[in-house]
């Protein structure tokens, strides 16, 4: 009677929680039901896997990398606090398997087999965890939406303020003027003439003082460098400039004109490179070009210098 009742009560339990009424550990899905009890061996909700409906049960659980074998026997069913016997398994895989066998020696085959399977799985995932820690971890940095939106807007405004196309074009034109491109482009002649015409109307008195200095410098330069481009064009422009000069100039300048006529020089670029450390200041890829030879006309050169100074200043500050 006693034995029958003991077995019977388990069956009754299973009848209640398994099929008909409610079990709080049960999770039902369309195809299968699972058991969320921590001591469950397989994780499924079965008559043979339910720790509540089996008086003799065993599981493997791990805590902080250490595996334990838990056993429950019917003799201790009356003492819930002492119901589960905990055995520490060795870290060696084979030895642990032997331990399981030894502890569950006369137990049903199903439980023994499932215990070993579970133990194998647990050791495998522990190994993997340890390996992953050694590899590079990906760190997730949380973004704040507000901040990102703010940055995005700032970037848009900065883009508008930057006026990139204009800035790039300006820089390129400046480099052209500075002569970083050397001989490649043949424009400068025309630009120079245009610049001349513009400057003609401006101050001419200042030119007289500086002319003398420049004459000396010019001659030194003449000695050093003499580079010619196309002859004909320059001669024509020379003539035209002479005409202009005759119109506007006073007599004092005509002497200088004569000097200039005598030593022909032709210009390559418009501007002269002043003494600057181009490499470090501009940080552009402008190879330090040799200083360009000036045209012989004193007044032109003077205004030339005036022209260059502001541009050079603007270049260094930008």
């Amino acid at each position: 009677m006693f034995v029958i009742s003991s077995l019977c009560f388990l069956q009754v339990i299973w009848d209640i929680i398994g099929n008909q009424q409610f079990c709080s550990f049960k999770v039902k899905t369309k195809s299968q039901s699972f058991c969320r009890n921590e001591y469950n061996l397989t994780g499924l909700c079965n008559r043979s896997s339910c720790p509540l409906a089996n008086s003799q049960y065993a599981t493997i659980r791990e805590e902080k990398g250490q595996c334990f074998l838990y056993m429950k026997v019917i003799e201790r069913a009356a003492f819930p606090s002492k119901m589960w016997e905990k055995v520490k398994l060795s870290k060696n895989y084979e030895k642990a398997l032997e331990q399981i066998d030894e502890n569950l020696i006369y137990w049903p085959r199903f439980i023994r087999h499932k215990c070993k399977q579970r133990f194998t799985k647990i050791t495998q995932y522990l190994i993997r965890m340890r390996k992953l820690v050694l590899k590079r971890q990906r760190k997730l940095v949380p973004l704040s939406r507000k901040v990102e939106q703010r940055e995005k807007r700032k970037e848009e405004k900065a883009l508008i303020a930057a006026q990139l196309d204009n800035a790039i074009e300006k820089e390129l034109l400046e480099r052209l003027k500075q002569g970083t491109y050397g001989d490649i482009y043949n424009f400068p002649v025309h630009a120079f003439d245009k610049a001349l015409e513009q400057q003609d109307e401006e101050s001419e008195s200042e030119s007289e003082e500086e002319e003398e200095e420049e004459d000396e410098e010019e001659e030194e330069e003449d000695v050093g460098k003499r580079e010619f481009v196309a002859e004909e064009e320059v001669e024509e422009s020379d003539l035209s400039d002479f005409e202009d000069m005759n119109k506007l100039r006073t007599s004092s300048d005509e002497e200088e004109e004569d000097e200039e006529e005598s030593s022909e020089e032709e210009e390559e670029e418009e501007e002269e490179m002043e003494v600057e450390m181009k490499a470090s200041k501009s940080k552009g890829k402008s190879p330090a070009n040799g200083s360009v030879v000036r045209k012989k006309r004193a007044y032109v050169e003077i205004e030339y210098e005036q022209e260059t100074e502001p541009t050079s200043k603007s270049r260094t500050t930008s």
Binding site: A158, L159, L164, L173, P188, S280, K283, S318
Partner: protein
């Protein structure tokens, strides 16, 4: 203002009446009551103009209309003011005071004490002896290794390829889960000068780590608005193999200078002008815009540019001395958002 408001209300009353009548006779009595209530309200409102504000009107449509009228008034006043000023200016003729320059963020920028003076000797000396001096003296040629974070998506891969065409002597390598600290000695052994890692998030490149190799500084940027070549409008043909020129704009402070040198050293020292290509790093309000163009001089006053390659914007997050070592490296500069975003007129680069 009182009269205006009163007039407006009077204008509205007939309007309201019309709409009500259109609705029908059934609601006639109710509508009339409402109107009376409104009339009372409006009278009360006109009686206290100084404390009146548009937001006190409960009716949304009315409130909206009132607000629009208010705006129109303000605009008219502004126009009148402008006209007056203009007249005064014309009247004065030459003696008129010069036009006021509008305030911009660049104008109002808080003066940064680390702004580099072009003639500063200390800076020049530093730059002569820092990690880039070898490059700027022409001793080393840049060789760039471009890679990505783990498992890059198609967009990032294509971006890396395009970058490799833009930067001469650049090689793209697939990152197979390798640690950067292990890659770096190998790169040094093979004479690479730069290691560039494009970080990716959600299928889009969003960060860049630029590491100058023989124990040079490491800069970490946030990358945004990346545009691949095919997304560009009116773009030209693919960039050729010629070394491009480099333009660096607006790198004023010390930090800006060092970043500028870092970016400039990516490209070979002597550009090939035949190629007519130019790579631009333009700094504006701490955002570095990268563009790649092909230019042509139409005459000495005009140049035409055509955008070729990829474009992106960078924002500096941190600058670390030494090669990549995020834990133990010595940081020269780190973006501290809380401090630095507080003032809108202060920029670091």
């Amino acid at each position: 203002i009182q009269d205006n408001k009163g007039k407006k209300k009077k204008n509205k009353k007939p309007k309201k009446k019309e709409t009500v009548s259109e609705k029908g006779n059934g609601e006639g009595s109710g509508a009339e009551q409402k109107e009376e209530a409104k009339a009372e309200k409006s009278e009360a409102a006109t009686a206290f103009p100084p404390t009146f504000s548009v937001s006190e009107i409960k009716n949304k449509q009315r409130r909206h209309l009132m607000f629009m009228k208010l705006k129109q008034e303000k605009r008219q006043q502004k126009m009148q003011l402008k006209k007056k000023k203009k007249k005064e200016r014309e009247a004065l003729g030459d003696k008129a005071p010069p036009k006021e320059v509008p305030k911009t963020i660049e104008n109002q920028r808080v003066y940064d004490e680390t702004t580099v003076d072009p003639e500063d000797e200390e800076v020049a000396f530093d730059e002569g002896t820092d990690e880039f001096s070898a490059y700027f003296n022409g001793l080393t040629n840049p060789k760039v290794l471009i890679t990505t974070s783990d498992r890059p998506r198609g967009r990032t891969v294509r971006f890396c390829e395009q970058l490799a065409t833009v930067i001469p002597n650049a090689h793209v390598y697939y990152r197979r889960g390798l640690a950067l600290k292990r890659i770096i000695p190998q790169c040094v052994a093979r004479n690479f000068t730069y290691l560039m890692v494009i970080n990716e998030d959600r299928k889009v490149p969003n960060g860049m780590v630029l590491c100058h190799l023989p124990d040079g500084p490491t800069a970490h940027f946030k990358m945004s608005s990346v545009r691949l070549r095919k997304e560009m409008k009116r773009r030209g043909k693919d960039p050729t193999e010629h070394s491009p020129e480099v333009i660096l704009n607006n790198f004023t402070t010390r930090l800006g200078h060092s970043i500028g040198r870092l970016l400039a050293a990516l490209f070979p020292q002597d550009p090939q002008f035949v190629g007519r290509q130019v790579a631009t790093f333009h700094n504006q309000r701490d955002f570095i815009f990268f563009r790649f163009h092909r230019y042509i001089f139409k005459n000495e006053k005009k140049v035409g540019i055509q955008e070729l390659g990829p474009r992106f914007t960078l924002k500096l997050r941190s600058l670390q001395k030494g090669t990549f070592d995020s834990k133990f490296g010595e940081y020269e500069w780190v973006l501290k958002r809380h401090e630095m975003d507080a003032c809108r007129r202060k920029f670091q680069l």
